[in-house]
Amino acid sequence: MVKNELKVEKLNLWFGEKQILKDVTFSIPDKKITAIIGPSGCGKTTLLRCFNRMNDMTDNVKIKGKIILDGCNIYEEKTNLSSLRMKVGMVFQRPNPFPKSIFENVAFGLRVKGFKDKTRLTEIVEKSLKDAWLWNEVKDRLNSSAMELSGGQQQRLCIARALATNPEVILFDEPTSALDPQATAKIEELSVELKNSVTVVQVTHNIGQAARISDYTAFLYLGELVEFGISEKLFTVPQDKRTEEYLGGKFG
């Protein structure tokens, strides 16, 4: 019996009049990699951004339904957005480190939380960089600008930055789409390693990538969750005709 980390219940989302997510219901298992796949514009990013309530900032957005994390619906009014976002970290499509030092990038989440203990902070920064497989490349230049790193290194820095607040879940939105194959491979391996300690939800365009690294896959089509299940099964014997067509390259 798998333990579930996040439960999505009848999630509906509109941008203005346009419904983007339709009755999405599924559960994301704890300490596994769950891939969200689907053609461009089907709502993958939008769904991912529901998990840390990043869609709240968009104008004219309307959200109905529940997402349960640690037994609480994150869409309840009493939810503290700051603590939610520390529990649910996010890594974006394009590496977006702050124009600050490497150290300050990783320390950012703790600093906004008001974390003062200098020694402990240094330890956490080091651990996060190690967990993101970046430590050896940057340990001698923690104070130089993050902008000097390569794209792949910047993306791993963003992962370290997200790890520093010790999240339960980490959301990846096509984290490798702006990277070369080598850097991509490294991030893929890293995701697999990360699932020992966190739940990974990864949006990807790349079916091969989903098949390689994910344990579970959700196929989203025109805002509907068409199929969700163990990746091996979904990729070999898809239950729905649309999944089969998508995997066969018919659209998207």
Partner: protein, 284 residues
Amino acid sequence: MGLRKLKEILGINLLRLTIFISILFLFLFIILIFAKGAKMLSFSFLTQPPKSGMTKGGIFPAIIGTLYLTIFSVLFAFPIGVLSSIYLVEYAKKNFLVTIIRTAIGTLAGVPSIIFGLFGLAIFVITFGFGVSILSGSLTLGIMILPVIIKASEEAIKAVPDSFREASYALGATKRQTIIKVVIPTAIPSILTGAIMSIGRAAGETAPILFTAATFYTRKLPTSIFDEVMALPYHIYALMTEGTAPEYQVPIAYGTSVVLLGLVLVISSVSIIIRFRMRRKKKW
């Protein structure tokens, strides 16, 4: 050689000619001012007050006056300008009122400076009773450069990529923390460049201080912000229009011009250096 080719060559040379004309005037300008004024420069010119009915001595009180006016006007306009631009970019909704405010700020930037002078006279000197003083002059100059600072900071803040804001929110930062810890530090080089450019403007304008702060002659240095002061641009103006001994005073006016020009050049090169150093660092 075809007609098209001929036209092209003519066109390019016409462009070259226009550039040449602009540069020619720039050179003439610098050469003239320096030729007439540089010989006046000396240590005592910079450190002594005027003497013998403004026909001898230096311009020290005017340098000090201009420094005070400039510093106070920037101290007044910079925080207000930056905070307004933060509000306009980060908080203001896109409604009719905000559009009006934006347009008003844009228009204000184009108002002739003498009008600011009259405004300052009416409001600060008379209504508020600050008299002809550093305070009135700085506030007037401050209001004049305010739209420039707002525009520059607005551009700077808008240029901060949204991906930085998103990253900050995603790490649990509030809007306020995001603005303070991410947006402002990222935008500050460009904000400062804008502010420094406006310092040059504040230092050089005569009209806004004409009725609000400047005096033709005073030997003493200001002791409070309610004192009137001499100022470099006004000093030039006064020497050239109200002088009684032009053979001595015109060279002093040119010498003062060189000092003022030097001051403004120094300020703009500082801003160029800041911009250059920051641009090397940012690559987003």
